[in-house]
Symmetry: C2
Subunit: 689 residues, 2 copies
């Protein structure tokens, strides 16, 4: 038997940080001529990291490792450092130019024979370094660089849903890189490589354990685990990333030995203060706590007749002396709903729970709100919480891991979905009150704001299982840095850095990524109604899987029609949670966009959509088309044989075959279900079983 | 905290072997007067066990421990022994009377001042001892006992589906009593107590590991585990029970290091012969192998283009020199069926696979055939294999563990279901060719026959989770001994021995047991169609749960009707697998019994049943009634408060509450499903959601 190659050396491991050698030729010469040396001024951790990343990256790109000192022969070089620590930085940029750089921003300028990367902080320098490598990968001329980049969002966070037993909740790319055998791993090589990937796209925060904190994870905030948590934090610190922990609200009882976790009890407050103090002794720049409380059977303040503000503020008080924050998830709903009760509406829950608390949260509390009111479906409206709590810090939560979007066996490039969410107009302060401006804090002038997202990586050699699923992690980071980047632009960046600059690869993969969300939507749950998946696993069609369950996720299909009536007039009244014309649009059967029709309205199968088709014919047509388009992905990928590294090509090929077959399964199950239920034939007479 | 009482001392642990003290009074005096001593002649293992069981049982029943020698004062006593080993036995029964006793049968006779329990074997003596204890528990007069009992079935077997990790496949009463932490447990106390229970109802064989033999269990036939398997076998041997092992057909590869498991390969045959020889060195009376091959992804002879006869005969040859047998399961079907293919019919599979092999199996091969053609549903027709293989040994397989019948949270006394199966007329040799006569071997004059069943016990203190589920284990054993016993009679025996002789308890619990199957059927899948349960778990309603799956278990409900057309005329042709008038009855929509209608026919919801109701109204009515009757069980059980040991009462109470609520859930899900699908209202206008 062949010895298995180390994971680090396997194709896909390098992801977009492969720094593939530039093709021999003029540009390679150009790049090499500008990178004879990298000169770092300052000893800040992230400046040193930036130096080493530039050295390694340039060596791979140009085939020549840069020197460390200014070349004596007049050759060109790169100079890096902070305005405070580097003479080059200070001299290259005027006072005004320096002032324009935000805490984590950077400037890059070609100046004489040097390219200067400068930041107000070492972190900014690191981001600038990765940016320059990206520019070189993409073949940009280095002769006249002059750019300023500031991150739009302050918090650019990743949530790991990793468990200490090594499993990952909703993980589709192997086991955890953080944990094994009920402990934090000792070998942090892979965690460091992950930190590189995150920093390279500008991410600056990570919560390292599942929001569902189980028995052992509850002890992460104690001496039993803090030494190892501190090692992890140290690894991330080198890449400018702050470490957070998901905590268990019942920890005072479970590990503290107290009889209560009541946030208004002095003993409980004291206990958390002691915990905070101890954590900061181990991790001086600890980020804070991520909290899932009173949600899906997690403990929380409700147990003590307290509200979310009481719970969050108590933790916030404990963290404030050390500069920490509490990130409190708004994914709160009744997960023991009676399906027979048609008036309760899970979509309403977060808004109903949280809006009355607006203004009551301490200034170092941040609410983390999922993009949609339900749960990361392929299509949902925006959560009406965005724009509804002007006096509260808020981040938007996305899900990079493809729980409901094909679980990294199907291709689903999510950046376009996120873009759509971010551009959504809330009307909270009139026109232009987009979700992205709520998230970044500017709309309401909040001190904290940003993005959070559930990671999609595991210990698979290529990190994400599906080789193209890396694009979602990459895109998330880039979008968190700048929500105005385009989906196509991000795709192109990722493709070029990952696969090189072959035009056919770029065009083909970009096309595949850009149509993938639409393809996935077209064979799964139709017109915004959601779910229709196998319970618990959330993979594969099961139209009635959640229909008679406690989870509040129903479609109400009968022989006449389908959909959830969420109108004020005759339904759950959810539409009233929206502001301005949104409320009117969603209340109106005529005005609601087709793709969200069944989220807001219950209609007969014969209802005619804006597209001119009936609902039933739309279901049939899109399912047939979706399966065909999925098969088209296989063909497109296969056209790249020989242009993509063989093992990555093969991994992709296997997944596209799975997707193709599984899309047919979706098509047939949904068509048969609706044909059996409605009795209405396909206008084109295609095979329905 | 209170120290937890040992499991052995907890209520329910004693099950029907509690030997509850007889009430003070005439009968207790009577019993005591007959049991001053128990005199055993012979040193056979089971005679010694019989002695000790009688001593312990009588001590508990009468409050007085019997002496070991014939009383010198003229008092009355019990004498036990085999005809060969005991003078009392030999003298009490004539040569003819002795000849009438089968290998494992016994006679009991009151003779002068002694009651003589005699058998042709020590095992028979043990069964006689338990029988006498049963008689005393039930208050029978001992003055003129004179009875002969021979077991009707030679093989009376229990199948454990226990895994070495301590889990039990389809177990609903805790973890395994045999295994923990990937090993066989060292403390076999509980295994011994289980052996007592099994022997007390006449069971004589047990396979101790899951038919799905995983990695470690595959090694049970090697020196790694044989010493511990031998200890288990020794424990069962004392109770007259032979130990079997479930084997992995691929063991020659997986543990033998061979490159094939082809049954026609000499090296494979040799390997199994060596294994057999080694097993018998450790366990001289080893029963043999139980085999699940080419079934649900298990390996088997198909891999090598061999058939089941090739596979079974190869193993049979290995076991024959030692007197062992191969029990080969017939649960073989395509578990990767395409739901879109309406012609393939899982119900046909066992018959289609096995009948062509009739006459090809060696004489120490026994086919184990599930009662129905599908899989232990609440209602199925009988497997047409019974009666179709006259030249093959066969046992009937039941499932005591309530996989599809409420998982020991719902009450479902299965003896009436089994009785119905056993009385089924196959017409294989004309009238009177009942399934019970196929199973016991007499119909075709086969050398082996009998019963097998999947156990329902685990390490819960009361063995079976639901306290009344013990009745199924008890009843299975009694029925295996004598299929002509009545369901009511078995229930009465079990109740009296378990709860004592209170009339109200007897009447109430007996009534509850007797109606429980019908109640469970009345709120779950209707009219024989089966399934409609949550996939994998098999608990709780999910009407479409298996509808679009690979498992071959469909109902084909659409807006017009429901059911599986298995007729020759227009369906899968399954009805032709039956003999005589059965084929005609099932082929005929008019003649098929209501309770199996949807198993054999696809009908409109408006089809009128023999009951005079339409199918849809039947569905609504039985669901409403079923939920009401389930609530009635709670009320009946609650009426026994104070008459049942409090902790057992409480356990039962909790379960009946669960059943009551869950029956409502079943009612509402099924009614809503069919109302939404058919659009037909309930004639009585009751609430459907």
């Amino acid at each position: 038997m062949m010895e298995k190659a180390s994971i680090q050396s396997q194709a896909g491991y390098g992801a977009w940080l492969n720094h593939l050698p530039l093709a021999e030729g003029a540009y390679r010469e150009h790049a090499a001529s500008w990178t004879k040396a990298v000169v770092a001024e300052g000893t800040e951790l992230c400046v040193l990291t930036a130096l080493s990343e530039l050295e390694d990256g340039i060596a791979k790109l140009t085939g020549k490792r840069p020197e460390k000192d200014i070349p004596q022969n007049g050759s060109r070089y790169i100079a890096i450092g902070t305005f405070a620590g580097s003479a080059a930085a200070k001299e290259t940029f005027s006072r005004e130019e320096q002032a324009e750089v935000a805490a984590e921003g950077f400037r890059i300028r070609t100046s004489g024979r040097s390219i200067v990367i400068a930041g107000a902080s070492a972190q900014g320098v690191l981001y600038g370094a990765f940016h320059l490598l990206r520019l070189i990968s993409s073949g940009a001329s280095l002769d006249e660089l002059n750019l300023l980049e500031n991150p739009v969002n302050g918090i650019r966070m990743i949530n790991q849903w990793d468990n200490i037993d090594g499993s990952i909740e909703r993980g589709y790319a192997g086991n955890s890189i953080f944990y094994a055998n009920d402990d934090i791993v000792d070998d942090l090589t892979r965690v460091r490589d992950y930190a590189r990937m995150l920093a390279s796209v500008g991410l600056n925060a990570i919560s390292i354990n599942n929001v569902n904190a189980h028995r052992y994870e509850t002890m992460f905030i104690t001496e039993r685990f803090l030494p190892k948590v501190a090692r992890v934090a140290e690894t991330f610190r080198k890449y400018g990333i702050k470490t957070f922990l998901s905590i268990n609200f019942a920890a005072p009882i479970e590990v503290g030995g107290l009889e209560t976790a009541d946030p208004l009890e002095a003993s409980v407050q004291e206990w958390w203060k002691e915990r905070a103090a101890e954590i900061y002794r181990y991790i001086p720049d600890f980020g804070g706590f991520l909290v899932k409380a009173d949600s899906e059977n997690r403990p929380g303040p409700f147990t003590y007749d307290r509200d979310h503000a009481d719970g969050a503020n108590m933790l916030a008080d404990a963290l404030r002396p050390f500069g920490g924050v509490v990130i409190w998830r708004c994914f709160v709903y009744n997960c023991k709903q009676d399906w027979r009760d048609r008036k309760t509406d899970r979509a309403r829950a977060a808004y109903d729970h949280f809006t009355p608390l607006d203004g009551r949260f301490k200034d170092n509390v941040i609410l983390q709100v999922k993009n949609g009111p339900m749960d990361f479906q392929v299509r949902e409206p925006l959560s009406p919480l965005f724009g509804a709590m002007p006096n509260t810090n808020m981040t938007i939560e996305f899900q990079i891991t493809q729980e409901y979007t094909g679980q990294q066996r199907h291709l689903c490039y999510l950046v376009p979905q996120w873009k759509e969410a971010l551009e959504f107009e809330t009307y909270a302060r009139g026109e232009g009150s987009t979700v992205k401006r709520v998230a970044d804090g500017t709309l309401f002038g909040r001190s904290y704001g940003g993005f959070a997202a559930v990671s999609n990586i595991g210990d698979d050699a290529n990190w994400t299982g599906h080789p193209l699923a890396q694009a979602n992690l990459y895109g998330y980071g880039r979008l968190a840095w700048n929500p105005d980047l385009t989906s196509e632009g991000i795709a192109a960046e990722w493709i070029t850095q990952t696969f090189g600059s072959n035009e056919q690869v770029l065009e083909t993969v970009s096309g595949m990524l850009m149509e993938s969300w639409s393809i996935y939507e077209s064979y799964t749950a139709p017109l915004g109604v959601g779910w229709m998946v196998t319970p618990h696993y959330h993979y594969g069609p099961d139209v009635d899987g959640y229909e008679y369950s406690k989870w509040g996720t129903y479609h109400f299909a009968d022989l006449h029609g389908i959909g959830v009536d969420r109108t004020v007039k005759s339904g759950t009244g959810y539409t009233a949670q929206y502001q301005g014309s949104n409320a009117e649009v969603y209340e109106s059967l005529e005005r609601t966009p087709d793709e969200l029709l069944l989220f807001f309205h219950h209609v007969p199968y014969t209802h005619v959509l804006k597209s001119g088709k009936t609902v039933i014919q739309h279901i049939y047509d899109t399912r047939f088309e979706g399966a065909e388009r999925a098969a088209g992905l296989t063909a497109k990928w296969n056209s790249l044989e020989g242009l993509i590294e063989p093992s990555i090509f093969e991994e992709g090929k296997q997944r596209f075959l799975i997707q193709e077959e599984h899309a047919q399964h979706w098509r047939d199950v949904l068509n048969t279900y609706f044909f059996r239920k409605s009795g209405l034939p396909d206008a084109l007479g295609r095979t329905i079983y």
